[in-house]
Symmetry: C2
Subunit: 206 residues, 2 copies
C-alpha cells in the first residue's frame, strides 16, 4: 500500500466497497470489473487500474471473489475496525446524525454530541447526554475521538472546527456550507447536497 | 452538448462549478486547469478533457475567465434557472433540509414538505405548512415539482419513492440508507455520509 495513491482513487474505494457489500448481501459470490463498473457508472478499466494500486485481487477472466475483495477493501480503507465519532451541534441535523441507522453497521459509532444551548445541554438524544460545547476539547481528548461531524450553522462552523482540531480530531465531515480552514494533517470532507442536485438537473433539461 | 457525455464526467461538473463560484466570490478573474485541479485533487488533464466535451472555454496558456466558465457550466448543468424541491419526511433530517441555507443561493427552493404523522401535519416548518403524505401525488403534480429529497426511515423509503414518481418527480436525492428502485427515466443520487467517512479513515491508519 503506497501513500502515493491519488486521493481521487481513494475516494472511489468506498463506492466499490459499498457495491461489494450489497453483492455479498444479495449472495453473489463472484463479480467482475465490468459488473461493478456497470453498477457504478465507472469504466471497468478504471476499476482495474484503481485496484491495481493495492495488489492483485482477481485473475484475468475469472473475476473477483466478492467476500475476499470486500474484506481487502475494508482493510485498505481501515474500516475493518470500529471508529467513534463526535457530533457537533444538536439541532435537527445533529439529531438526525445521532439517530442515523446507517452508521453502526458500517463501523461508525456516535459516542458524544455537543451543543451550546443551555436548554439542550443535559438532555438525551438517542441515548447520549448532550455535552456543553465548552467541554469539547477535554471530552474529545478523554474519549480519543478522531472523527467529528460538524452540524452547526455556517457562522459557527470555523470556531467549532478550531476546537475539534484542538481536541485531537483528525477527520471532519462538514455539513456547514462553508470551506473550513484546518491544519494539513486534518482531513475534511464536505457533505454538499447541491453537488448531487446539480448532477441530476443536467438530465432534467427539456 | 451531447448526451453521450459519460455520467462520471457530469458528476464532476458541479465540483468545477462550486470551485469557480468560490474563485469568483474571492474576486479571482482568471484560473487554469492546474489551479482548479490542485484545489479539487483532480488532474489538470482530466479537467481539460471533461470540459472539452462541451466546447472551447479557454485559450492554451491564457487560462479560463472565471465568470464566463462559471456561467457556461451553470447553463450546461441547467442551474441557470431555479428549481422547486419537495422534502418528504418532516423528522429531524427533513426539518434540517427545509431550513438549510445552502440551497437557495444555488437555485434550489423547498416548496413543500410532507409527513404522515397527524401531530406534525398542519404545523409550520420554515414557513411551510406540513402536508399529509396521502396528498403527495396530487400536490407534487399541481406544483409541478421535479425534484424530491427523501428523508424518511429506510423501511418507508421505497413506498414513498413510488409515490413521488407517480407525482411526476424525475430526480430524487435519497438520504435513506437503501437502494431505491425507480423507472429508468428517474435519476437518483444517494447521500451517503459513510462514503465520505471511509474516504478519510484511509488516511487515519497509524
Amino acid at each position: 500500500m503506497s501513500d502515493s495513491v491519488p486521493d481521487i482513487v481513494i475516494g472511489r474505494l468506498p463506492l466499490y466497497l459499498r457495491a461489494l457489500a450489497r453483492l455479498e448481501q444479495d449472495g453473489v459470490p463472484i463479480t467482475s470489473s465490468h459488473e461493478l463498473g456497470a453498477q457504478l457508472g465507472i469504466s471497468s478499466a478504471q476499476i482495474r487500474k484503481d485496484l491495481s494500486h493495492f495488489g492483485e485481487f482477481g485473475k484475468q477472466g475469472t473475476g473477483y471473489q466478492v467476500p475476499y475483495l470486500r474484506e481487502q477493501l475494508a482493510r485498505i480503507l481501515c474500516v475493518d475496525r470500529d471508529w467513534t465519532v463526535a457530533v457537533i451541534g444538536a439541532g435537527h441535523l445533529g439529531r438526525a446524525l445521532a439517530g442515523y441507522k446507517g452508521f453502526g453497521p458500517r463501523g461508525f459509532h456516535v459516542d458524544v454530541i455537543f451543543d451550546n444551548d443551555p436548554d439542550i445541554i443535559g438532555t438525551q438524544i438517542g441515548g447520549l447526554v448532550v455535552k456543553p460545547g465548552e467541554s469539547m476539547v477535554e471530552e474529545l481528548r478523554a474519549r480519543r475521538i478522531e472523527i467529528a461531524m460538524i452540524a452547526v450553522p455556517a457562522a459557527a462552523a470555523q470556531s467549532v472546527t478550531d476546537r475539534v482540531v484542538a481536541g485531537g480530531v483528525r477527520a471532519i465531515l462538514n455539513y456547514a456550507p462553508i470551506r473550513l480552514v484546518v491544519p494539513d494533517y486534518v482531513h475534511v470532507q464536505d457533505i454538499d447536497p447541491v453537488i448531487h442536485l446539480q448532477h441530476m438537473t443536467y438530465y432534467l433539461r427539456t
